[in-house]
Amino acid sequence: MIQSSLTQMGAALRAKKISSVELTQNYLDRISTLNPALNAYITLNPEVSLEQARAADVRLAAGKTDALTGIPIAQKDIFCAKGWRTTCGSKMLHNFVSPYDAHVISQFNSAGAINLGKTNMDEFAMGSSNETSYYGTVKNPWDTARVPGGSSGGTAAAVAARLCAAATGTDTGGSIRQPAALCGISGLKPTYGVVSRYGMIAFASSLDQAGPMARSAEDLALLLNTMAGFDERDSTSLQRDKEDYARDLVKPLNGLRIGLPKEFFAEGLGSDVAQTVETSIGEYKKLGATIVDISLPNTKLSIPVYYVLAPAEASSNLSRFDGVRYGYRAPEYTDLADMYEKSRAQGFGAEVKRRIMIGTYVLSHGYYDAYYLQAQKIRRLIAQDFVEAFKQCDVIMGPTSPSTAFKLGEKGDDPVQMYLSDIYTIAVNLAGLPGMSIPCGFGANNMPVGLQIIGNYFDEARMLNVAHQFQLATDWHTRAPKL
């Protein structure tokens, strides 16, 4: 059952071949056996999950079902879930039990899905390896000496190891796509504004977007159907008609124009990744697609622009953690300022403090124009590159990450090395476009390689079609690590 698609699982549940309680217990048993070595979950709440499963079984018996009723879904620990400890990977929130549900959580609850547990992540989603989590690093299920990617690394590892049916992630600069690539699973970051940010702990509000992570594009479509939709509690949520993201899955790809940006195949790309991605492009040609050479000339600037905008927004968002209303408070202090300074110094980890400091500096008096405003202007140039590119092609493809999963500790203490590994994903967030990663083969050390698919605004259904057709013709997405 754990290798079945969500559609098959749903059918088995509705046909009473298995109950939601049995399915949930299967996953909980698998988690207790395999999670200690992987550390993919921060918080489990088996009684609560099973209670939800019993309710789902009642609903299934009554025939009042949704596509996801009774299916166990893991939630990234960035989503507030009522009654669940919600840590965001930080000591700052080690004792935070959320008093309310994020929009994404309530959407899954209404569908009758089971919250299987909260997955590990880089602290406040700041990282590309999961090594910044206060709750320990996550291990890549394909090789436990390697990172799973980040920041949604716990989710990626849990899906790859079949420790959940599917899961959620968030993506500010690549945090869904990069770990999906490094763990050999599928992940989709929707157009900015498609999924509500309400109750999703904020990192960089103008870039943060939630999305599904799963074993196939078909599964992603079902999950996005549940997650997407207007929510008045998020001021940047978009008012659009409800879509069925699975509607175009079966369309043939004849005549599809795939743009290959030359900047994505330049210096810095590992030869194993390049070769694997090129082989997949060959597969698309066989499926009837044509290739267009395009250019995204400002790609290189996306890293400096991102490392101004994201920390600036983070420094503002994270000012709410003051040790007064919730979260960590230092045990000893002399006065109010001392309490703030010590609570924040002890509650945040090194990478989070670094980004708060970058953000504080670029927003401080006299520097705003030179940094934040300049970055926002270049952000427009980066977005315009994509507008030009989409005049010539329907989707853009390239690698998700320049290398396969690196070893734990390999990038050492130099944050700049880690930042550079996000080169192919960041521009998509800056432009607000949808992007996804699907498994497309294996590179050096037999580690998974991800193919990135970037679509035009609101083109998620087409991207899922493009991914699904590849997955009908290949079996990379069915490969699972031996555990």
């Binding site: 919730y326 202090y333 924040r344």
Partner: protein, 95 residues
């Protein structure tokens, strides 16, 4: 571009982060490296380009000025570090 130790002290104070002298020295090196990366941005000619904050160019939605939240003080204060009689406790700020 590199930051000096006075810049680091000032930023730490503005960000309300207590730091030891050793931590400040490490931060000085790391932040300078990061600003070295960011400096690439400064050479770009952006005259006449409007800043972009949201891809869909939305205007802010407005709603009626009515009370929509219910009182959940007890639920919210149950997770606070220190409360008394429905109030959040902090060190004394007024003599």
């Amino acid at each position: 571009m590199s930051l000096n130790i006075t810049d680091v002290e000032k930023v730490a104070r503005l960000a309300r982060l207590a730091m030891t002298p050793q931590e400040m020295q490490a931060a000085q090196v790391q932040l300078s490296n990061i600003f070295g990366l960011i400096a690439e941005m400064q050479a770009v000619d952006t005259s006449g380009i409007a800043p972009m904050s949201h891809s869909q160019e939305l205007s802010q939605r407005l709603r009626e000025d009515v009370v929509t939240e219910t009182n959940q003080r007890e639920a919210f204060q149950s997770i606070a570090p220190q409360v008394e009689d429905g109030l959040y406790l902090v060190p004394q700020v007024i003599e």
